[in-house]
Symmetry: D3
Subunit: 143 residues, 6 copies
C-alpha cells in the first residue's frame, strides 16, 4: 500500500482585470492586452485541489472528500464565486489577479486546514479558460 | 439532397451583473441572487451559431465557415470579449444581461449578415456555465 | 422578442439493471446483454431539463434557474442520487429502468411543478454514458 | 407514453481534402482555404446517430443499442476509420468530402437498415472539429 | 531522445457501496454519507493507465497501444464492467471499494503484465465522477 | 512565493500514417495495425505546452501567454495544421510520426525560443485521440 493523490473539483465564476495603477494605460495594454479592460471581464474558473497521503485502513480514504469539499467551499469558493477579484476578495487585496498569483494565495489558505483534516496539500490546478491553466505544488518543482 | 444545419462555435469571456436600478438591493438580491453582485462577476461564454440551407453543389457547403466565423467574430465576439456587458457593449445598452436577452440581441445582429452571405440563421445557443444554457430559434417553437 | 429555451443541467449517480422476472436468465442476457447483470451496475447520469417561454420583461428570465434547479433536485435528484433504481425509487417501481422509460417518468413528475413555476417543460435529455443518451419532448415529434 | 429519441455515439479518424480537379489551385485555395492542402489533412470525427420511436413495452427500448451500434460500425465506421475519404471509401467516390455531403451520404446508407431493425432514423450529427459540426434530419427542416 | 509517458484511456460502468459490516448503520452513514446506501449506487468510471519508457527506434512506440489496451481490457475492464464491485469482482473481495483502494489493486494486477510487454507502469488515474479522481504512482511521491 | 507551471493549449488537424518503407506490407500491418493505411488517416491533435518559473513580481506572469502562444503557433501549429506529417513537415522528415516522436521533436524546437522569452519548457502533452496521449518532460522522469 502506498501514497495516493486524491483530487476534488470545484468551480466559481468571477470578474477580474489585470491592471497596475502605477502604469500608464498604454503600458497596461501592452503587457496585459485585452485582460486590462478597465471595466473588467470574467471567467468560469475550474479549481482542482489535490491531497496526498496513505489511505486510512478503516475507510479507504486519503481524506474524506465531503470534508475536503467543505474546506474548499468555505475558504475559496464562497469568497470568490460571483465576485470581483480586484474589489471584493479580502485575500486578494493588493495582489495582481493573474492565475499564477491566485494559486499561490489559495495554497497559503488551504494548506493548514487540510493538514488539520489529516491530509497533505499536494497540488492546486486552476483552469482560467479552455486554453490556459496554472499548476502549483507549493513551490516544489516535480518536473 | 436536403437541408443541412451547420454550426460554428466561438467563445468570449465577459463580466456582467443582473441588476435593475429601479429595484432595491433587497429586491435585486431576491430575484437575481448572487448574479446581482454590485461589482460584477463573469463567465467564459460559449456561443454556437447554426445556419441552415442546401449544400452548394459546387462546394458542398451550406455556408463557407470561414466567412461565417468572420461575421460572428466581427459583430459579436469583438464587442463582447474581455468586456463588461453592462458598461462596454453598445448593443446591450439598457438591456438586462440575462442569457435569454443576449441570444435575442445576437439574433437581431446576425440574421441579416448571414442572409447576405447566402445562409439562413436557424439557431443560436449560448452556454453561460456548464449547468445552464439558452437556445433561440428566432422566436420559432420547434418543440 | 420571442420564445427562448433555457436548460438546466443536474447530475446523479445510481445503480440499476435491465431485467425481467418473467424471462429466463438466457432471455434476459440475450436482450439486455451486460446490462442484465444480476447484482446491478451503475452510471453517472447527466440530466438536462429544458423549459420554454417568453423572457419576463422585468427579469429577462424564462424561468428563474434557482427555482428550476430546486424543483429538479427535490423531485428527481434526491430520490435517485446514490440509489438503486430497481429497489429504492418509488416512481420507478415496476418500471424497466431503460433510459427511455426514465425520461418518460421524469416528464410526468416535472411537467406540472414547472408549469406552476411559470414555465413550460419542453425537453428532457438524459445521458447514460458518453456513448448513449435519450431525448424526450413529451411525446411530440419535432423531427 | 410517447416517442423517444435515442442516440448512439461512434468515432472514426480519417484523412480528407476539399479539392476540385476542375478548378485551379488558386480557386481551390480561395474557396477551401487550408482544407485544400494537396497531401490531405485529417480529423477525429465524432458521429451521433439518433433513432426515434415508441419504447417497446417488453424491453423499454426504442431500438436495441447493441444492434444500432453494429449497424453503424459495419456500414459507416469500418469503411471510414483510419482511411482516406477521397481515395479509400466506395460510398464517397466522386463526392466532395464536406461535412454536409458526408452526413447526407451516411443517411442514405443508414436509413433502411435501421428501419429493418425496427427504428426510424431521425437525425445524424457529425462533429469535425471542436468548432464545427453538421446536423441532418433527412431533408426535414425542424427549425 | 528520452523517456516518454504514454497513456491509454478505458472506461467501465459498475455498482458499489462504501460499507463496513463491522460498523453500525449510523457509523457507516456518518463516514461514508450517501455512498453507504445499502442497495448500492454506481458510476461511469474512466481509467487512465500511463506507461513510461524510451520509444523503440524501430516503431517509435514506448509500448504498442493495441497490446496495452488488451492487457487493461482483459485484466481490469472485463472483471469490472457492468458488475458490482462488492459482490462480483474477485480481486476486490474483502476490500473497501474506495477509489484509492481500487487504483492500488489495479496497480498490483497491471504492473507485471505491462513489464512483460516491455513497458514500465508509471501511473494509474481513476475518475469516479466529474468532481473527484485518484492518481497512484505505485507508492512513489513525485510531488 | 514559488515556482508555478503555466500551460497553453493549441490545436491542429493533420494526416499521417505509421509506415516503414523497409518493412513489408504485412510487417507494417502487424505492428502498426490500422495506422499503416497506405493513403493516410488523420486526427484533431490537441497540444499542451507547460512552462515553469517564478511569477514576475511586476506582471504576476511566469511567461506572457500571448508570447507563448505566438511561439507555439509559429513553430509548431503553422507547419503542422492541415498538413500531412509524412510529406509536408520539414521537422518530421525521415521520422516515424508516432505521438512519442512528435513530442520529442516539438521539444527540440520549442525549448530555446521559450528560454529566450524568459521561461523554462517543462512539459509537452499531445492528445492524439480521446483514448491516447503522450507526455514528455525533456527526458526527465518525474515519476
Amino acid at each position: 500500500m502506498g501514497t495516493c493523490y486524491i483530487t476534488r473539483r470545484e468551480t466559481f465564476n468571477a470578474a477580474h482585470k489585470l491592471w497596475r495603477e502605477d502604469w500608464s494605460q498604454e503600458k497596461n495594454d501592452e503587457v496585459f492586452g485585452k485582460c486590462s479592460n478597465h471595466n473588467w471581464h470574467g471567467h468560469n474558473f475550474i479549481l482542482f485541489v489535490t491531497v496526498k497521503g496513505l489511505p486510512n485502513p478503516d475507510t479507504g480514504f486519503v481524506i474524506n472528500l465531503k470534508e475536503l469539499s467543505q474546506i474548499i467551499k468555505e475558504l475559496i469558493i464562497e469568497p470568490l464565486d460571483h465576485k470581483n477579484m480586484n474589489l471584493d476578495v479580502p485575500f486578494l487585496r493588493d495582489i495582481l489577479a493573474s492565475t499564477e498569483n491566485l494559486v499561490i494565495e489559495m495554497w497559503k489558505i488551504l494548506e493548514k486546514p487540510i493538514y488539520l483534516a489529516g491530509g497533505e496539500l499536494a497540488k492546486i490546478k486552476l483552469i482560467e479558460t479552455e486554453n490556459n491553466f496554472v499548476e502549483y505544488f507549493g513551490g516544489k518543482e516535480p518536473f
